[in-house]
Amino acid sequence: MEHRLTFPTTEEAIRELRAGDSVLVDGHIVGIRDRTQIRIFDQGVEPPMDLRGAFLLHTAPNVRKVGEGRYEKLCIGTTTSARMVRFTEPLGRDYGVRAICGKGGLPDEAIVPMRRYGMVYFAIVGGAAALETTQIEEIEEVFWEELMPECLWKFRVKDFGPLTVAIDSHGSSLYHDVQESARKKLEALYERL
């Protein structure tokens, strides 16, 4: 099924999405990465931005500084999400985040928090940064510039995607299913080696 969603959004809208669906996103999304989340959760620093209903993108963009706290996009792409899986639960529980978007997927430990708090994982195409950059209209705000490029970024986006719902809020994960089926196929393939 194909959807179009504007962020920030509601739990109700997120619960409509099913693993395998395709989504195009408009509105505001938040760029975040390893060091940003280490600061929030390991160093206990409150984020200077309301994350309720938010869409988080795992990114460290290439930008050009054009003024005090102002940046112009050069090339914005997405990083591997699996490194940051342990932040999934507190992002949903403490901050009301609704969507995490990255590449490569989240391990199975993300399935329960996503079901419990009403969150999804969107798979973007890793490496497709030239296209992604054209779908980001503007960098509206930047916090924690000293973590450059792993700051907290606020982007305005239009037709962002297409994204695939890879983990939904009902306990389904494409990554889990693909791994399970691949493990079975491997058993048969070993016989032919």
């Binding site: 395998g20 395709s22 990114t59 460290a60 963009p61 290439n62 050009r64 050069l74 090339c75 914005i76 792409g77 997405t78 990083t79 591997t80 699996a82 590449k103 490569g104 997927g105 798979a123 195409v125 890793g126 490496g127 497709a128 940064a129 030239a130 296209l131 992604e132 950059t133 054209t134 490029p149 297409p162 695939t164 890879a166 494409l174 990554y175 299913d177 693909v178 791994q179 089926s181 691949a182 493990r183 196929k185 491997l186 393939l189 070993y190 032919r192 080696l193």
Partner: protein, 301 residues
């Protein structure tokens, strides 16, 4: 008539400029063999999410060209492969300095994101340069006066999916194949499939990984000149595509574009196998430098 000092200095500058050009060019304009392999993958993929991924990849390659932007935001760690002719009039010590300075110049002038950090402090060490970075591999060619430089910016998502196993002789070729299969299934969507699986076999532990990296730097779908090794490449490519991992690990028919294998003879009790993954954005660009400092650029080498 130029003095020797002037010749060296202008040749070093030519290599520097070539390196700066190669680094940016590789990031923006992927080779035709790779474009063909991606288009071919889109032809045969039957899964819905897999097809969505491949169409987005093809669109992205096109947009990068139109917007003159980078294909992928990960500017990687700069890796160069040098083939130095015996009679090339610039010493490798100076070639290294030129590659270092060229990498730095490209990063500052474009500008490119700098990824290089001290491995313990994690502090940024400069403009994509640092201690022992860029990484340069050397080959020396007798009876030749040229220099070939191939730039392979290597992204971290795929480089993180590198694996080594010291199999035993009793594990045999089946053990090699099994390790490659397990590695790629375990990597799932993380290295941005469908890409090139580089496999290095034989030699020693470190040399096997070196060979695996050399394998990913080859033009896509080229075959090892040794027919036994080429047969292993064909077989592994087929087996890996039966795992169903699919584009970006979302499930599908195309898990890898191709598997390339490089080999070395080894000790009678060793059977090393190394896997080095290259994402679908398998960037590379080459310059042929003549002794007079003229440079021919080559996207397909």
């Amino acid at each position: 008539m130029k003095t020797d000092v002037e010749t060296v200095s202008s040749l070093q500058d030519a290599v520097l400029q070539a390196a700066a050009h190669l680094y940016v060019w590789a990031l923006k304009d992927i080779p035709q063999d790779l474009r063909d392999a991606l288009a071919d993958a889109a032809e045969r993929e039957t899964s819905v999410p897999g097809q969505r991924v491949l169409q987005t990849i093809l669109r992205n390659v096109q947009v990068a060209e139109e917007e003159r932007n980078l294909v992928c935001q990960d500017t990687g760690i700069a890796v160069y492969y040098c083939r130095v002719g015996e009679h090339f009039p610039l010493h490798p010590a100076r070639i290294y300095q030129a590659l270092y300075d060229g990498t730095e110049r490209a990063t500052v002038e474009h500008p490119l994101r700098s990824n290089t950090v001290h491995t313990l402090t994690r502090e940024n060490t400069g403009q994509n340069v640092g201690y022992r970075v860029p990484i340069v591999h050397w080959d020396f060619v007798p009876g030749w006066d040229g220099l070939d430089v191939k730039c392979v910016p290597k992204g971290s998502g795929s480089e993180s999916m590198s694996f080594l196993k010291m199999c035993t002789p009793a594990d045999g070729v089946a053990g090699i194949k099994r390790f490659v299969l397990d590695s790629i299934v375990g990597a799932g969507g993380k290295p941005c499939p469908p890409g090139i699986v580089g496999v290095g076999i034989g030699g020693s532990a470190d040399y096997a990984m070196h060979l695996a990296k050399e394998a990913i730097a080859r033009p896509v779908a080229t075959r090892n000149p040794d027919p036994l090794v080429a047969q292993l490449e064909e077989e592994l490519t087929g087996l890996l595509n039966e795992t169903g991992i699919g584009p970006m690990g979302l499930g599908g028919d195309v898990t890898v574009l191709h598997c390339h294998v490089e080999h070395a003879d080894t000790h009678m009790t060793l059977n090393p196998v190394a896997v080095n993954y290259q994402c679908w954005a398998a960037r590379r660009a080459t310059a042929h430098v003549s002794p007079d400092g003229s440079v021919d650029y080559d996207r397909e080498a």
